[in-house]
């Protein structure tokens, strides 16, 4: 969205400078943990094991980054999971949010509360029954356990987000299409879905970032090293050998490398996510 900055008279220049200084400070503060992680990835083992913390690396151990070579075979597993989840979760979220946002139907409020209530149960107590259920489905140790949940709406929170975005769309769009004789499915695919591309992308990217680094869920269900995801393979190695050589520097190197793909995705899709798409010819 374009905002034309009209530079006004002198007092506002001072205000601008203040704004930018404050913003720069904010960015420096926000960036600090990441910068520290970056620095730490260049520590030697001795520095990482040191009792005293320091900010700047004293030697530049680039070889910490070589650690990723060991885990590249697991990249395939991660990519499979990501490909399935990052498309189908947002898609089914939009699909299921459509009637909740746009239609009136019997039991609408009840359905909405029902869907929302599934996330209100604390996930901690669901751990063992979920494991028992997955076990009876035969999904333990299979990669399918990580993407089987992609097709069912992506969780109540995703659906809720799409509802909020969809409700902001003007009703004239739907009405115009109905007048033209479209049924609900056509309205969804031709009219509504193209308008929520930004939230679709937002969900896809959030999924990407979340799943890319997630090791908690795979840790519960995956056991054979061949099906480990990248994050899990690294975490398993790190937690398996915690004596003597303090590996937090390698851990940070791995973490830095893992933030690069989400960064690239973010940069590429920023414009589309934030820009939104306007339909010509309709006011609002």
């Amino acid at each position: 969205m374009e905002r034309i900055n009209i530079y006004k008279k002198k007092p506002d220049v001072a205000a601008h400078i203040v704004k930018y200084v404050v913003s720069a400070l904010v960015i420096v503060v926000l960036l600090f943990p990441y910068a520290f992680m970056l620095n730490k990835s260049l520590f030697t083992s001795a520095e990482a094991a040191s009792v005293n913390v320091h900010f700047w690396p004293q030697h530049f151990e680039i070889k910490n980054y070589g650690i990723i070579v060991k885990y590249l075979p697991n990249l395939k597993n991660t990519l499979i999971i990501l490909a399935i989840n990052c498309f189908f979760q947002p898609f089914t979220a939009c699909f299921c949010a459509f009637p909740l946002a746009r239609h009136k139907f019997i039991g609408k409020k009840f359905m909405f509360m029902l869907v929302m209530s599934t996330v209100m149960v604390p996930s901690i107590i669901l751990q063992i029954p979920t494991y028992i259920m997955f076990s009876s489905f035969g999904l333990i140790n299979k990669l399918a356990s990580q993407w089987i949940q992609a097709f069912w709406g992506g969780g109540a929170l995703s659906i809720f987000l799409v509802i909020q975005f969809m409700r902001s769309l003007p009703h004239e769009l739907d009405e115009a299409a109905t007048i033209d004789g479209a049924n609900q499915y056509q309205i969804f695919f031709r009219v509504v879905l193209p308008n929520v591309v930004n939230v679709f992308l937002y969900l896809a990217i959030s999924m990407f970032i979340g799943l890319w680094m997630d090791f908690q869920n795979p840790l519960i269900y995956l056991r054979k090293p061949e099906v480990f995801t990248l994050a899990l393979a690294f975490y398993a190695d790190y937690s398996n050998s915690t004596t003597i050589v303090n590996q937090t520097n390698e851990l940070c190197a791995m973490a830095v490398m893992m933030t690069v793909p989400p960064m690239i995705v973010f940069l590429l899709f920023q414009k589309t996510m934030i820009g939104g798409i306007k339909i010509g010819g309709v006011k609002g």
Binding site: V51, I220, R223, S241, T243, I244, V245
Partner: protein, 480 residues
């Protein structure tokens, strides 16, 4: 009315669902003796060496554990070549929870065909497994099998592997705390290394630390410390405070009480704090022993289990070992073990029992000793001067590395374990008490300063009182 209908529908839904899913997790109270005799009936005890069978062993993925189990399995296969052994590996990070989840799933379905038979367990996890009924009481097998007896094993380790009169775990090793030293640093500081045959007294220990520290401070490197120890680790903390006369939990007139808040505890912590102020130790430490391993500490307190890791790091080139020094007015050493248990619903009990016996057999213990990762729990192997565990050698060990330190004072009253205080607790209380116990030393070392560490409101007395109150509150809770 509408709400009533909805809630009625939901409740009906739940009831229907409940009856559909069944209550496989409900267990009827049954007689352990009867169950065990049925299991014993199904187990063959007198098998020949060409017995055909299967065995599944669960372990974590630590490199040390992989080596250890391989040693046992390779020699087991020599004895019983027709028993197929499969290892199931689990990431260390979630080992206990994953095993427990698998057990929950198996209990629910009633189908144990794919479960493991034997699994590795650390000593402090055993009470939790027993509560969940995941461990087979091995004393029944012991009684039935005439060829086997626990008499040949170190008594304290057998006691540690037992609970409520039943032995649940077959101990694998005898793991005692020792003090490693970095000979190169000692030589540079011109300080005599600790004796391998006798434990240091408190005065000798203090003066050694002082001499070391004088040298290290003169080097100007803020990273050097005299002693690297993991103080908020109960295996070290318990013998430490006990040597000053402190008690954590005792029974008074049949009631379990906590009397941690005492002069003895105060003295123990004050001495520890003063060691920190004199810069002998940095803080409460961590399990990695990175400070000693990276050559930044002259002394390191840990157990045998960390030896190969130290050697593989290849930073300290002249490692020696000595018995634990005396900290307080009495001498105590901590010792514990890890071992292997049989799964309560193991599908192959015959093979499992054979394997467990093999672990404490001469062949098994000898092969295990070669790895350097542990001291045998078999008394005959301990006494044998030519056994593999005490002839283990490595380029990074000093000449004359005396393995005797690992069994120093074994069998005497000086050896203690956390079972001393855990025996009075219900399994559900152990975690909380242990956490508060360990936290107390961490708070004291981190949050009390040089000028206020004796303050009643902000120093050591405050944190001792905190631990005392928290533990006492835990004891008052209802336990099942």
């Amino acid at each position: 009315m509408k709400h009533f209908k909805i809630t009625a529908v939901l409740l009906g839904f739940i009831i229907i669902a409940a009856s559909l899913f069944g209550c496989g997790f409900m267990k009827k109270n049954s007689d352990l003796d009867k169950e065990m005799s049925a299991i014993i009936q199904n187990t063959k005890f007198d098998v020949s060496s060409d017995y055909k069978g299967e065995l599944v062993i669960a372990r974590n993925m630590e490199s040390g554990e992989i080596t250890n189990l391989k040693a046992f399995i390779d020699t087991f296969k020599v004895k019983y070549p027709n028993i197929k052994v499969t290892e199931q590996e689990y990431p260390s990070a979630n080992y206990v929870t994953t095993l427990q989840s698998e057990n929950a799933a198996a209990n629910n379905s009633g189908n144990y065909k794919n479960m493991f038979d034997v699994f590795w367990t650390a000593e402090n996890e055993m009470p939790s497994y027993v509560t969940l009924d995941m461990l087979m009481p091995l004393d029944y097998f012991d009684r039935e099998d005439d060829s086997f007896s626990t008499d040949g094993l170190v008594d304290s380790m057998v006691a540690d592997s037992s609970l409520d009169g039943h032995m649940y775990v077959m101990p694998r090793d005898y793991n005692q705390l020792v003090m490693y030293y970095n000979k190169d640093l000692f030589d540079a500081a011109n300080v005599a290394v600790p004796s391998s045959t006798e434990s240091m007294s408190t005065e000798q220990f203090a003066s050694m630390l002082e001499s070391l520290q004088t040298y290290l401070t003169a080097q100007g490197d803020a990273n050097y410390y005299s002693l690297d120890a993991y103080w908020n680790w109960e295996s070290l903390l318990w013998p430490y405070v006990k040597s000053f006369g402190s008690e954590l939990i005792t029974k008074n007139d049949g009631k379990t009480v906590c009397n941690y808040q005492s002069d003895a505890t105060l003295e123990a912590y004050t001495k520890l704090k003063e060691m920190q102020i004199a810069r002998y130790i940095p803080n409460a430490g961590n399990s990695a022993m990175g400070l000693f391993g990276m050559g930044n500490a002259a002394l390191g307190i840990h157990s045998r289990a960390v030896l190969t890791s130290l050697l593989d790091a290849n930073v300290v080139k002249n490692i020696g070992v000595a018995p634990l020094p005396q900290f307080g007015k009495e001498y105590y050493i901590g010792a514990g073990c890890s071992g292997y248990g049989m799964y309560r619903h193991a599908p192959h009990t015959t093979e499992a029992w054979l394997f467990l016996k093999h672990i404490v057999s001469q062949e098994g213990q000898e092969e295990f000793g070669k790895t350097g990762n542990g001291v045998p729990v078999l008394k005959s192997a301990l006494a044998d001067k030519n056994a593999s565990w005490c002839t283990f050698t490595h380029a990074n060990l000093v000449n004359g590395f005396d393995h005797n330190a690992y069994v120093y004072a074994m069998g005497t009253d000086a050896v203690t374990s956390t079972r001393d205080y855990k025996q009075y607790l219900a399994p559900a209380q152990i975690y909380k008490v242990k956490t508060e116990f360990q936290n107390s030393v961490q708070y004291i070392l981190n949050y009390t300063g040089v000028d206020n560490y004796l303050d009643k409101d902000a120093g050591i007395p405050y944190y001792i009182k905190l631990a005392q109150n928290k533990i006492a509150a835990t004891l008052k809770k209802d336990v099942k």
